[in-house]
């Protein structure tokens, strides 16, 4: 059971390392978006601190969505997806492997980059740590939910736009609790409640999304 997940992760990570430009594009997008706001708003520390959690979370969310259209499209085009669908293992596990690999190549580096970008918003060390923690905890849910959208729009012309329309509304709860946790830390309240809910969202997304995406992919393969 686990071997297929690990095999898919290993292959996808190797591919991601061969296509480093894709990862760089995602990270660079995040850097640019997060840097445009302080430049546009001006040097007002209080206002920037207030905006920081939302802006950084939205930036990371949009950046992690950039690589979603290719999540299954490349495998579909070269026939690898068919072969993956024909392994004796449940197809959902294959999709889970792809979701984890997507997170390792997009969510994880975004979360690690976030505290550096947070410095532009004059965030305290505590808030920066919380920002990183919420992104680490929340981005797997983004990859999971995104996989459903990517599977549903597979092979559709102009699927990229449709994908964002499908997926962005579903990202809202993750955004609310992720940014809310950082906000709560900034205002001195505890973030425990937000973190628990964020963890619950991630568990639910990783548990259900691969199977939903697998069902959609099977229809796309017919």
């Amino acid at each position: 059971m686990l071997t297929i997940v690990l095999a898919v992760i290993a292959r996808d990570l190797k591919l991601a390392l061969r296509r480093r430009a894709d990862i760089a594009a995602v990270l660079f997008f995040f850097v640019i978006v997060a840097s445009l706001f302080p430049l546009g708003i001006g040097p007002e520390p209080n206002l920037l601190r207030k905006l920081a959690p939302g802006v950084l979370w939205v930036g990371a969310l949009l950046a992690s969505m950039l690589s979603l259209p290719r999540l299954f499209a490349d495998d579909h085009k070269d026939g690898t997806l068919e072969q993956l669908a024909l392994t004796p293992h449940p197809f959902g596990l294959v999709v889970l492997g792809k979701v984890i690999a997507h997170w390792l190549a997009s969510g994880l580096p975004l979360a690690l980059l976030a505290p550096v970008l947070g410095l532009q918003y004059d965030l305290s060390t505590e808030a920066l740590a919380m920002l990183t923690a919420t992104l680490l905890l929340g981005t797997p849910a983004l990859s999971g939910i995104g996989a459903i959208g990517a599977a549903l729009t597979l092979g559709v012309r102009g699927g990229g736009v449709l994908l964002s329309l499908l997926v962005l509304p579903l990202y809202i709860p993750v955004l609310i609790f992720g940014a809310g946790a950082v906000d709560a830390t900034l205002s001195g309240l505890g973030a425990d409640g937000h973190l628990s809910l964020l963890a619950a969202l991630t568990c639910a997304a990783l548990g259900f999304a691969p199977w939903a995406a697998a069902a959609a992919l099977k229809i796309a393969l017919e």
Binding site: I4, A10, R18, D78, E82, P88, E222
Partner: protein, 203 residues
């Protein structure tokens, strides 16, 4: 034993075929023929369980094609090569074996690549290979393949005459070991061993 009864196929609004049935025993090969658009690929995709049939039934030793038992005994080679352009032939072969749950050592993989005529190109990314060489990378999967049912969609496309003869020999060896195979091709190919049956679609 592959048993197919009363199979019908509808793509879009078009009825491609109906009432297709055959029975394939160990050591037998089915050569599916037909014009472009006759439904050859659709038939193969039904056999492997990717496309649900409109009517009829498919059984492999009594099991439906969506069952786990069927999938552990199937080797499918599609129209697309199912290789990754960024990976080398060796990495492609090892990755696909690993994902199909097969044990394949690096030595065996290199040997398979040598057999398909890719010696010395194991470490070159597949995007630098020609169309025929990419097809050979895909075919290298068949070299050590011991699964009893092979379903091959146009396996001879883009191959030169030497490679066609080699592949025909490989399929013959598979039949001799008691395997079954189904393939489509427009070329006249001599399979050296086994019983060859023909199925013509669209007439």
């Amino acid at each position: 034993m592959l048993e197919v009864r009363d199979l019908a196929c509808v793509r879009g609004e078009r009825h491609l075929f109906a009432g297709v049935g055959f029975c394939l025993r160990a050591g037998e090969l089915l050569h599916v023929q037909g014009e472009n658009g006759a439904g050859k690929t659709s038939l193969l995709r039904m056999l492997i369980g990717l496309l649900p049939p409109e009517a009829g039934s498919i059984r492999w030793n009594g099991q439906p094609p969506t069952s786990e038992a069927f999938r552990t005994e199937l080797c499918y080679l599609g129209h697309a090569n199912a290789i990754k352009e960024e990976l080398t032939p060796l990495e492609n072969l090892l990755a696909s074996a690993r994902m199909a749950d097969e044990r394949l050592s690096e030595g065996e993989a290199i040997e398979a690549l040598e057999q398909v005529g890719l010696a010395g190109r194991e470490d070159l990314a597949c995007k630098y290979l020609s169309q025929g060489q990419k097809r050979r990378v895909a075919l290298a999967r068949l070299v050590g393949e011991r699964r009893p049912l092979w379903v091959l969609d146009e396996p001879f496309v883009a191959l030169d005459t030497g490679a066609v003869a080699w592949l025909a020999g490989l399929i013959g060896g598979h039949l001799q070991r008691g395997g079954c195979a189904v393939f489509t091709t427009h070329q006249a190919v001599d399979i050296p061993a086994g019983q060859v049956c023909e199925l013509r679609l669209g007439t």
